[in-house]
């Protein structure tokens, strides 16, 4: 087992463990911190897959922006009785069964792609000529329209968030 493969299996095990801890912890802040661990390990897997820009975006946007936003809201709302309430709903065994079924389905779906055999290896050295510049060329070339639409979507989300979270004036 080479070093990158061993690193990958460590990252995979740590991701699964931190995801499980994140969805089962009682304290929301602890959950957030476990999700942070998950995001960083997923960024490491992106690095192993040769997606350096994606790893950087994962750390900056997910771990840096989105998670901090979550933490701000959790601390802003000050959920006092969250500890007293049962953390799972009544029907959590059904939820566990559904999650298991979805995971099993996705696991089985690997077979149909022709990627499934564990011996399938990606040839080393693919996309070697500058991943970042190639991504930039693709984003502003064939993907220019989706790119602009993403900016429009983010603008709509900004306006929607401001309208939703705004405090209504007393008279209106």
């Amino acid at each position: 087992m080479t070093l990158p493969t061993a690193t990958f299996y460590y990252m995979a095990a740590a991701s699964i463990a931190s995801a499980l801890l994140a969805v089962t912890r009682k304290n929301p802040v602890h959950s957030m911190l476990w999700v942070l661990v998950l995001f960083l390990h997923v960024a490491g897997i992106f690095l192993l897959l040769g997606a350096e820009f994606l790893a950087a975006v994962q750390v900056i946007v997910y771990a840096g922006a989105i998670l901090i936003f979550y933490l701000f809201v959790v601390m802003l709302l000050d959920l006092p009785d969250e500890e007293a309430r049962p953390r799972f709903g009544k029907h959590w065994p059904i939820a566990a069964a559904v999650g298991l079924c979805v995971a099993a389905l996705a696991w089985l779906a690997r077979v149909g792609t022709g990627v499934a055999p564990a011996a399938t290896r990606v040839a080393a050295g693919g996309q070697s000529e500058g991943g970042l510049s190639a991504i930039g060329m693709a984003l502003f070339g064939p993907f220019a329209l989706p790119f602009e639409m993403a900016s429009l979507l983010l603008l709509a989300a900004i306006i929607g968030a401001v309208v939703l979270a705004r405090r209504r004036a007393a008279g209106s």
Binding site: P4, A12, V23, S31, V35, F46, H91, Q127, L139
Partner: protein
């Protein structure tokens, strides 16, 4: 750099299942949103794995768009949570039955 792509897809499947379980089982709205983030991350992992396997950059670009959509979803979702908490402080998912008939 040699990473088995099948194993990445399996990891993505397991993470997605954990996210589904968290979304369905948790009663806290913020933790349900966090479970959605776990699911989106699983999808990004499989996109990056396919991008590597097929030596095609489109998977990575799709993953970037998924991250943008996740950011938009977080903004609107947490705005809803704040508005909800202002109108009915301390309300959990089980108490929000206004749209039920």
């Amino acid at each position: 750099m040699i990473v088995p792509v099948g194993a990445v897809l399996g990891l993505s499947a397991v993470l997605f299942g954990i996210g589904v379980f968290g979304f369905l089982a948790r009663r806290n709205i913020i933790l349900m949103l966090i479970s959605i983030e776990v699911m989106l991350n699983a999808v990004n992992l499989s996109l990056a794995a396919f991008s590597r396997h097929l030596e095609d950059l489109r998977g990575q670009i799709l993953a970037l768009f998924v991250i943008a959509v996740a950011a938009a979803e977080v903004g609107v979702g947490l705005g809803l949570v704040i508005a909800l908490n202002r109108n009915r402080p301390g309300a959990g998912v089980a108490d929000l039955t206004k749209l039920k008939w």
